[in-house]
């Protein structure tokens, strides 16, 4: 049975525009199945509704129509079975790295005495041993994002929802965190829904890449990604420079390119109207 199922999920927002009294359709009839333990990447042009999709899955907003099933049960609100890594780190600035990871554990009711040990363990997992007592403003962007990841992992949700977590990082940091994330995923077997607008990132990370169209957001295609090279243990540059990688990259690029062109045309028409 699929872990997560989107059944013709539609989300509209009321528009501020009083004259036209229409609604803005952010997502339109999304159908998507995600298996347990799968690593699914969602790519789409900016503004196509990726964050909206994640909010729905996280239970922070409700679909206008359709439904989302998690383990066969409809999602009705937030829960600790899903951990969100936000686009903007979302660290509590008054807490240390350790305190931030403990924050998630407090919510789950892990006994006080075990929290610190557990938090340390997960900071270690993301390679932040020695930085436990730093406040967020004393950490680099990459470190902050790793604290956020550690926090989401520490309370052990089944599903990890990540909204462009590496978008603000430089290429080197991003690539090393990508490897780290894949390692963690392989080790923990969690279901990961990863949002990005980077094609390379999508191909590099995902087992499946869902391409979303814009205005309204629909699933254009789900591209299964499987490398011979990865099976052989290739990572990093070896994988990125392989011909298979290039082929997938091109395939998704083409799907997206049409989308971006269409979105821009739509925007122009709208501006002209």
């Amino acid at each position: 049975m699929a872990k997560i199922v989107f059944e013709s999920v539609t989300k509209t927002f009321p528009t501020k525009d009083k004259k036209r009294k229409e609604e803005f359709t952010a997502l339109d009839g999304i159908d998507l199945e995600i298996g347990a333990g799968e690593f699914v990447v969602v790519v789409g042009p900016s503004g196509c509704g990726k964050s909206t999709l994640l909010d729905l899955l996280g239970g922070l907003t409700r679909p206008t129509s359709g439904r989302i099933l998690l383990d066969g049960e409809p999602v009705t609100g937030p829960g600790l079975d899903r951990g969100i890594v936000f686009q903007q780190y979302a660290l509590l600035p008054w807490r240390t790295a350790l305190g931030n990871v403990e924050f998630g554990l407090e919510a789950t009711g892990v006994p006080r005495r075990q929290r610190a040990a557990r938090a340390r363990e997960f900071l270690d997992l993301v390679g932040l041993t020695g930085f436990e007592d730093r406040h967020p403003h004393e950490l680099s962007g990459g470190m902050r994002q790793r604290v956020a990841i550690a926090r989401s992992l520490a309370y052990d949700p089944d599903v990890l929802l990540m909204d462009e977590p590496f978008a603000a990082l430089d290429a080197q940091t991003r690539e090393s965190l990508q490897d780290e994330l894949r390692r963690i995923w392989q080790r923990t077997g969690k279901t990961v829904v990863f949002i990005t607008h980077g094609i390379e990132e999508a191909v590099y990370l995902g087992q499946k890449v869902a391409v979303i169209t814009s205005r309204p957001g629909r699933v254009k295609e789900v591209v299964p990604v499987s490398f011979g090279g990865r099976a052989a243990g290739a990572t990093g540059e070896d994988l990125r420079s392989s011909p298979e990688f290039a082929r997938y990259r091109h395939e998704i690029w083409t799907l997206l390119h049409d989308e971006v062109a269409r979105a821009q045309r739509l925007e122009k028409e709208e501006a002209a109207a």
Partner: protein, 352 residues
């Protein structure tokens, strides 16, 4: 949310008609009194402007700035040397350098005050101003010492501090919880906004006659006016602090299914503390400011009374002694609050 506005500026009541020849009376008064007094009076005014508007970000900067002059210097120079003196081998020479820097900073900081004292001492002696209305600082110091000796100063100070700290404490106890409540329920905040704005902009001292009318001339009306004046900066800062809590953090907490009380306890409150405390610090300055003015009208004790009565009895050095005492109290109280505030806002200050 709320547009920042002036704090009540207590217009020091014009000296009673006993003051001989207004043209002379005007000349000396501004010289020493504005030195310390308006420094206090102005402190609250510029601060609230950046705060309620942009709470988390730019606040740390304006905060020390408000302490007008001395505070920021002590803030940046003081804490720095200690962490730097950590490495052992270079300790000795470095400590010398640190002490040197410290002395230099201390000198720089006190230079303006020393200069003021020097001018205050020499100007009357040289006949630049009438020594009757501006006695040299040494005479004021002697008067201060005598007042201290015969217990008058202690008594008046105690009376003033009891009133202003009492009123201040009551205001904190009322305004913080109230502000948290109002700030949390946004419709309530929107509903009350204009009303709060109106009250905040009504100079507290303008209402003094109303307080006296309703509560009589005794302690109640004096403490009440302090409470009233102190409530606004705290209340408005608290409301805006709650309203400006980082929405991403609120989303984070909601995504973890935190209950509302928990969300409040773990996210809203800690993030609001620095801004709330800025309001508290402003209230601290206001409490002394308003009280002194209130004591000038119908009081039998207190520093405001001492100043007013001394002037009335033409005991000019005693009058200045009272003024100096008030500025010293104001500076000390502010310093204490600034220190606490900085401690509470450490996480906001970028590791520069």
């Amino acid at each position: 949310m709320t547009t920042p506005t002036r704090q009540p500026h207590p217009t020091t009541p014009p000296p009673p008609s006993t003051a001989p020849d207004p043209s002379v009376a005007n000349a000396p008064a501004p010289a020493p009194a504005p030195g310390p007094a308006p420094a206090n009076a102005q402190a609250p005014a510029p601060v609230p402007s950046p705060l309620p508007v942009a709470a988390p970000g730019p606040a740390p900067d304006p905060v020390p700035a408000s302490a007008a002059g001395p505070a920021p210097v002590s803030g940046t120079d003081d804490p720095l040397p200690r962490p730097e003196s950590a490495p052992a081998p270079v300790r000795a020479p470095r400590r010398v350098a640190v002490v040197g820097r410290w002395l230099r900073a201390g000198l720089l900081r006190s230079a303006a005050i020393l200069l003021l004292l020097a001018v205050w001492e020499t100007a009357p002696r040289a006949g630049l101003v009438d020594a009757t209305f501006l006695p040299p600082v040494s005479e004021v110091a002697r008067a201060w010492w005598d007042l201290l000796g015969d217990g008058q100063l202690g008594e008046h100070t105690r009376a003033s501090l009891t009133r202003s700290f009492g009123g201040f404490a009551i205001a904190v106890v009322i305004a913080v919880p109230l502000g948290l409540l109002i700030g949390w329920y946004r419709p309530v905040a929107a509903f009350l906004g204009p009303l709060l704005e109106l009250f905040r902009n009504t100079a507290a001292l303008a209402l003094l006659p109303v307080f006296v009318l309703l509560l009589g001339i005794g302690e109640t009306s004096k403490v009440s006016i302090v409470v009233y004046a102190c409530v606004w900066p705290i209340l408005l800062n608290t409301i805006s602090a709650v309203g400006n809590a980082d929405p991403t953090l609120v989303r984070l907490a909601r995504s973890m299914d935190l209950s509302t009380p928990r969300l409040f306890q773990k996210v809203i409150l800690p993030s609001a503390v620095p801004v709330i405390f800025t309001g508290i610090r402003l209230a601290g300055a206001v409490s002394i400011l308003v009280l002194v003015a209130a004591e000038m009208i119908g009081a039998k004790a207190g520093l405001g009374y001492l100043i007013n009565a001394s002037q009335f009895n033409f005991a000019i050095p005693q009058m200045y002694a009272g003024i100096v005492t008030i500025s010293a109290i104001g500076v000390a109280f502010n310093q204490v609050l600034v220190t606490i505030e900085r401690r509470l806002s450490l996480w906001r200050v970028p590791a520069a």
